[in-house]
Amino acid sequence: MIVFKNVSKRYPDGYVALNNIDLTVEPGEMVFLTGHSGAGKSTLLKLISAIERPTSGTIAISGQNIARLKLGAIPYLRRKIGFIFQDHKLLFDRNVFNNVLLPLQISSFDSKTAASRVRAALDKVGLLKKEKSMPITLSGGERQRLCIARAIVHRPNILIADEPTGNLDVEYARDIMALFTSFNQVGVTVMIATHDASLLEDTQHRIILLKQGKLAV
């Protein structure tokens, strides 16, 4: 499903974020990406949704090479992926419902279908009662769940989360992880970048370790 071949990413200032990465994530797999900050976790995730482009190598998603994807095709790639951003990227000028609605508006859903899908997503993350709240009034854990609702509302095959438990206490982090596991159980490919060792302690899922832009086996 996701195949990296000889992928390197060098920034214009000469900094090498990723160095010759070979990596395969099977359809329906759930993997953790870990390593120190600056090891290249975020860069690797951003390459998958073409937020960053690789300097060399190929990245195939469902057989499509996205390393050389035309600019006009990028939006359609991103619609297949649910991305949970490290800095949340919520819109504070609109309520919870409308934040989750945005991906559906982008994909031209009619408003009836969209509304029921938004409520289903909010229900899934336990925010249904807060649909009229503004994001500013939500707690850290609630905001994270809002991000997840927005990432899954258009039912993507791939879910990518960049430090989803970043500033959460253990209780909240466990809830969030349970959510990801439940998505994975219905067939969604899940990739989670984290430097939180406690998340990885009792997991049966594959752990990919990055060290200074290289895969450490």
Binding site: P75, R78, I106
Partner: protein, 303 residues
């Protein structure tokens, strides 16, 4: 598919209208500024078009001058006058005696000195006539006939003033075009800046939308709607300004016109011109928004 497309456009249209209404003063001021800018060339255009229709009427009754030989006497003049009056092609006759002509010449600026130095009056007696029709065959025939009269020295078409007026109208059209071009650029610039400010305030929304799969046309759409709608409203306000001004001028001019016996009213914009004005204005709004979006959106590429 088409329904989804319509839903989306309808949604953006309503969203844009709400956005315009949510800042009523800003919206009103922008529309007024753009409306006034558009009303200037439009107003001059209307005035010119009215002038053109008046001169069009004048051109339908061409004028000719008959210059008589110096040696003609009063009987000859009376005979010619009778001849002219009997001609069905001639609608009006005006006799200008050589003394009257000299007097007129003395009154005109700069020529008084010359006329004083003259020993005797060099000017001939003349008739100024207006003909009914203006087919060139008839005019030429009439000219030849009158030229054949022994008392007539020379017959001349007096179209010079008309040519001058047409030259003036041509100049006027040029001024309208120039003004329209300049003010169109101004309107595009106003719209460009308005959209630029909107894009800046919507920076987050644009970036996030792009990150979760919005196409460029999806991002552009609300701004293009905004520009087009505001252009449309500005065109309508220009139309109102011009129409109202014409009504006001006609009312003010009524007393004067009534006294002078001239039947002249400013005609308002024709339906065709009105629609052209509003569509053109909407196009300007769209163009300003399009240029602004094109030059600012790439700056909000997600990184």
């Amino acid at each position: 598919m088409i329904r989804a497309w319509l839903t989306q456009h309808g949604f953006v249209l309503i969203l844009t209208l709400k956005r315009l209404i949510s800042t009523p003063i800003t919206t009103f001021l922008s529309i007024i500024v753009m409306g006034i800018a558009l009303s200037m060339p439009t107003g001059i255009y209307v005035f010119m078009k009215n002038l053109q229709s008046v001169t069009g009427q004048a051109a339908n009754s061409p004028q000719m001058s008959l210059f008589l030989r110096k040696e003609v006497n009063k009987e000859d003049i009376a005979k010619i006058k009778r001849n002219l009056e009997h001609n069905a092609n001639i609608v009006s006759i005006q006799f200008v005696s050589k003394d009257a002509a000299l007097q007129r010449l003395q009154q005109s600026n700069g020529l008084a000195d010359i006329t004083i130095s003259l020993q005797h009056n060099p000017l001939p007696d003349a008739f100024v006539i207006h003909t009914a029709q203006n087919t060139s065959d008839m005019l030429e025939q009439l000219r030849a006939e009158m030229q054949s009269w022994p008392e007539v020295e020379h017959v001349q078409f007096d179209s010079a003033w008309l040519e001058r007026l047409h030259a003036l109208l041509k100049l006027g059209r040029f001024v309208v075009l120039m003004l329209a071009t300049l003010l169109s650029v101004a309107i595009i610039a106003i719209m460009f800046n308005t959209i630029r400010l909107q894009i800046l305030t919507k920076h987050d929304e644009i970036e996030i939308s792009k990150l979760i799969g919005a196409t460029d046309s999806f991002i552009r759409r609300p701004f293009l709607y905004f520009g087009t709608l505001q252009g449309l409203a500005s065109g309508a306000s220009a139309w109102l300004i011009v129409t109202f001004s014409i009504a006001l001028i006609n009312e003010e001019a009524y007393a004067f016109i009534h006294q002078s016996g001239i039947d002249f009213y400013l005609q308002p914009l024709s339906p065709h011109d009105s629609i052209s004005l509003i569509v053109f204005s909407a196009l300007l709004g769209w163009l300003g928004a399009r240029l602004s979006v094109a030059s600012h959106l790439w700056q909000i590429e997600p990184r």
